[in-house]
């Protein structure tokens, strides 16, 4: 589209009208646009986890250095997966192309590329399925919506399957529940058979395999880092909070996303959690190996995802804890809710989770023995176990972003809201069609929160940002709370671009601010070390 090079005259410019003749989408070849795709994975990452075809290649190159039998590999891969996943098999067959899902994808809404309509994203692969696996496709070819698998088709699938954040919003509106996220997951699994992954995904995968966390940090660094937070907490509250690592015999193993250990604003969430656990005297421990609930393997293939989740139950078993408490993270909770037990359960060496403080049985987690921290904290608040000073968050006007994974692969809506309402005086919801199960993605999920595809992320996040803008203008909202580490990494950037002045935080940061701890000094700083307005601090 771009006519960079020779500048057109203004009169011409205003007449630019991108209205190509209505063409069949199959006849429009894929065009790799800068800012829309990520770097290819470096071979060493694939080697680290024993994945096939490690090599140097680049998406922009004409030659992807595919193995000679790449087509066979993909077709064989499809065949196998049709038997392995009923989702895939049924979804390949029953779409009626009613278009109900078409305008539900944030990438389509924000960017306008018609191939970002979920139904079309599916058709990219479905057309290949028809060609090789259905009678009508074999006989009638294009008339039946079938097409040959060529390198260009493969590239097109790659391009658009790494423009899907696996958010499941389309699935919610489809009359048959056709879930493009599921198709994308399987499509990416196929691409991984040829070593066609992203650097931004494979790096964390390789690191997680070796050290347990995305950044590849070694155990002593993790400890030092948390110690560092304990110092900050001491400065803010005057209390020296203690915590333990790899301690056998603790009652609870706490596993959050490692992003909350090293990044801002994520680490304020961890600080809030450390303070909370200290205040209620929780008998818990960290594991330096299972220090990451996030799992970029899920954006690679089911096998790699499972591989990386081995540490969860195995560490719980080794340390002899009774149950697991999971931190604020989106895809971690898709996995803990829908996959963990199937992969590595049954965890019969654990006990049915009971809150040691309130005695509440977490009925809904009696099998997998993993409790979400907002379930845990909401229960504490409900039982009046926490002393909270809401006014410490009075300078904040908060809204809440539901993460895709916790919304459409779990359904945890009330717990975080209950906490927020108990720790903040000013809470405002975004419009109904953009929250809860209908929530809009941050635009950066499923391993797409890289730097090189920033334009993709900004446009994909626009529907979300637009809803935030609305509450900002209407209520003066200045804080976007969430329960996801990727949100905390991606939303600040998104807000900076679309709504400068709106900050991002986790729910337990807000809690940490409001939590009145026994023996604390008068708080003049918030968890970010900034003066609390109206609390003896500046302003």
């Amino acid at each position: 589209m771009a006519t960079k090079g020779k500048p057109p005259k203004p009169e011409e410019l205003s007449k630019i009208s991108y209205t190509p003749p209505q063409r069949n989408w199959m006849d429009i070849p894929v065009e790799f646009k800068p800012g829309m795709y990520c770097h290819a994975t470096r071979p060493k990452y694939l080697e680290a986890v024993g994945m096939p075809f490690p090599r140097d290649w680049s998406p922009a190159d004409a030659d992807w250095k595919l193995p000679d039998n790449w087509k066979e590999i993909i077709l064989q891969g499809i065949k196998e997966r049709l038997m392995k996943y009923r989702t895939f098999h049924v979804f390949m067959d029953i779409c009626v192309r009613c278009g109900a899902c078409a305008d539900k994808c944030h990438f389509f809404l924000g960017g306008g590329d018609p191939k970002n309509m979920p139904v079309l994203r599916a058709e990219l692969l479905r057309s290949v399925y028809r060609k090789y696996f259905t009678t009508s496709g074999k006989i009638f070819g294009k008339a039946a919506g079938a097409r040959e698998l060529t390198e260009d088709v493969l590239k097109e699938i790659w391009y658009y399957y790494f423009q899907c954040t696996e958010c499941r919003r389309c699935s919610l509106f489809c009359p048959y529940g056709i879930d493009q996220a599921e198709i994308t997951i399987i499509g990416r699994e196929l691409l991984n058979l040829l070593g066609l992954n992203l650097d931004w995904i494979m790096g964390p995968v390789a690191n997680s395999y070796r050290t347990g966390n995305h950044l590849g940090l070694e155990p002593h660094t993790i400890k030092a880092n948390i110690d560092f937070m304990l110092d900050d907490i001491e400065t803010i509250t005057g209390i020296r909070v203690e915590t333990t690592f790899n301690r056998k015999g603790a009652e609870i193993l706490f596993i959050g996303p490692s992003g909350d250990l090293f990044g801002v604003p994520g680490n304020y969430v961890t600080m809030g959690e450390l303070m909370l656990f200290h205040e209620i005297g929780l008998d818990y421990t960290w594991s330096t190996m299972a220090c990451e609930g996030g799992n970029f393997g899920f954006f690679t293939s089911m096998e790699v995802a499972k591989k990386l989740y081995y540490k969860i139950y195995s560490e719980a078993k080794r340390l002899g804890v009774k149950w697991i408490l999971g931190g604020e993270c989106g895809h971690q909770w898709r996995l803990m809710n829908q996959y963990a037990d199937t992969w590595w359960g049954p965890p019969d060496f654990l006990e049915e989770p009971v809150s040691p403080i309130t005695g509440t049985k977490f009925e809904n987690a009696k099998g997998s023995k993993i409790v979400h921290i907002t379930e845990f904290t909401a229960d504490l608040i409900k039982h009046g176990k926490l002393k909270l000073d809401k006014s410490r968050n009075d300078h904040l006007k908060v809204t809440f972003h539901d993460s895709c994974n916790t919304s459409r692969a779990m359904g945890i809506f009330e717990e975080p809201r209950y906490i927020i309402k108990n720790v903040c005086n000013h809470f405002y919801e975004m419009p109904e069609s953009t929250i809860r199960e209908k929530t809009f993605c941050c635009g950066s999920g499923s391993g797409l929160n890289a730097g090189e595809n920033i334009e993709l992320r900004m446009r994909g996040g626009f529907p979300r940002a637009n809803a935030v803008k609305y509450v900002r203008e209407k209520f003066g909202v200045n804080m976007l709370a969430n329960i996801c580490a990727i949100d905390r990494a991606a939303l600040p950037t998104l807000m900076d671009y679309w709504n400068p002045g709106v900050d991002v935080c986790g729910v337990h940061e807000l809690l940490g601010n409001a939590l009145v701890m026994t023996g604390e000094i008068e708080r003049t700083l918030d968890l970010r070390g900034e003066p609390l307005p109206g609390k003896g601090g500046a302003e």
């Binding site: 589209m1 771009a2 006519t3 500048p7 057109p8 203004p10 009169e11 410019l13 205003s14 007449k15 630019i16 009208s17 991108y18 209205t19 190509p20 209505q22 646009k33 305008d103 809404l109 924000g110 960017g111 306008g112 018609p114 790096g203 690191n207 950044l215 590849g216 940090l217 070694e218 002593h220 660094t221 030092a224 880092n225 560092f228 937070m229 992003g259 250990l261 090293f262 990044g263 801002v264 419009p431 069609s433 953009t434 730097g451 920033i454 334009e455 900004m458 446009r459 626009f462 529907p463 637009n466 809803a467 609305y470 990494a489 991606a490 600040p492 950037t493 900076d496 671009y497 679309w498």
Partner: protein, 180 residues
């Protein structure tokens, strides 16, 4: 005939023409969807553009155009187009469509055929320079948006490892991912 009155009278028509010309820069399948104005949250791009051009229009036909405000309104639209596969010129070309529509409308109403008053011609000139000004501002805004994107890229990586950078001496092997 006073030009300002004329434009105010024709506002709805001009805006709808302008809106359509902007949407024509998108693929037709998409344009149709963006045109649908039912719900600002189901169609954020379309409604932002729709609302935005009206504000720009109102600001430009004001006797005393507030440039700061004009910039804000322009920015709302350009921010979107800056991340949507458009080149710089394409991203801001929509300002010139306004000029074209203006010209067409004046032609159609034969306003220049009738002995045009000096006042009218001055006004016309005034409007055209305002639109040119808007175009110039738009270019700046576009550049600002692109720079912002680069800046965000760099900052984000830093934020993700902020704590580590703070205590860099503890890192034995620096993390594999580029900090830039």
């Amino acid at each position: 005939m006073n030009l300002r009155n004329f434009l105010t009278e024709k506002k709805t028509l001009i805006l709808s023409k302008w809106f359509n010309l902007i949407l024509d820069t998108y693929p037709p399948e998409t344009a149709k969807f963006f045109r649908n104005q039912d719900d600002p949250f189901r169609n954020p791009v379309g409604s932002t553009i729709f609302v935005g051009i009206e504000k720009i229009f109102d600001e430009i036909i004001k006797e005393k155009t507030d440039v700061a405000k004009l910039s804000i309104f322009l920015e709302e639209i350009i921010k979107i187009r800056a991340v949507q596969d458009f080149s710089a010129s394409q991203a801001i070309a929509f300002i010139f469509s306004f000029k074209d529509i203006l010209k067409d409308e004046i032609n159609q109403a034969d306003l220049l055929q009738k002995p045009a008053t000096k006042e009218f011609l001055m006004d016309l000139h005034d409007f055209q320079s305002k639109i040119d000004l808007a175009a110039l501002i738009s270019f700046d805004i576009y550049m600002k948006c692109r720079e912002k994107l680069y800046e965000l890229k760099a900052n984000e990586a830093k934020k993700m490892t902020y704590r580590l950078l703070q205590q860099a001496k503890l890192i034995v092997e620096s993390p594999e991912r580029d900090i830039n």
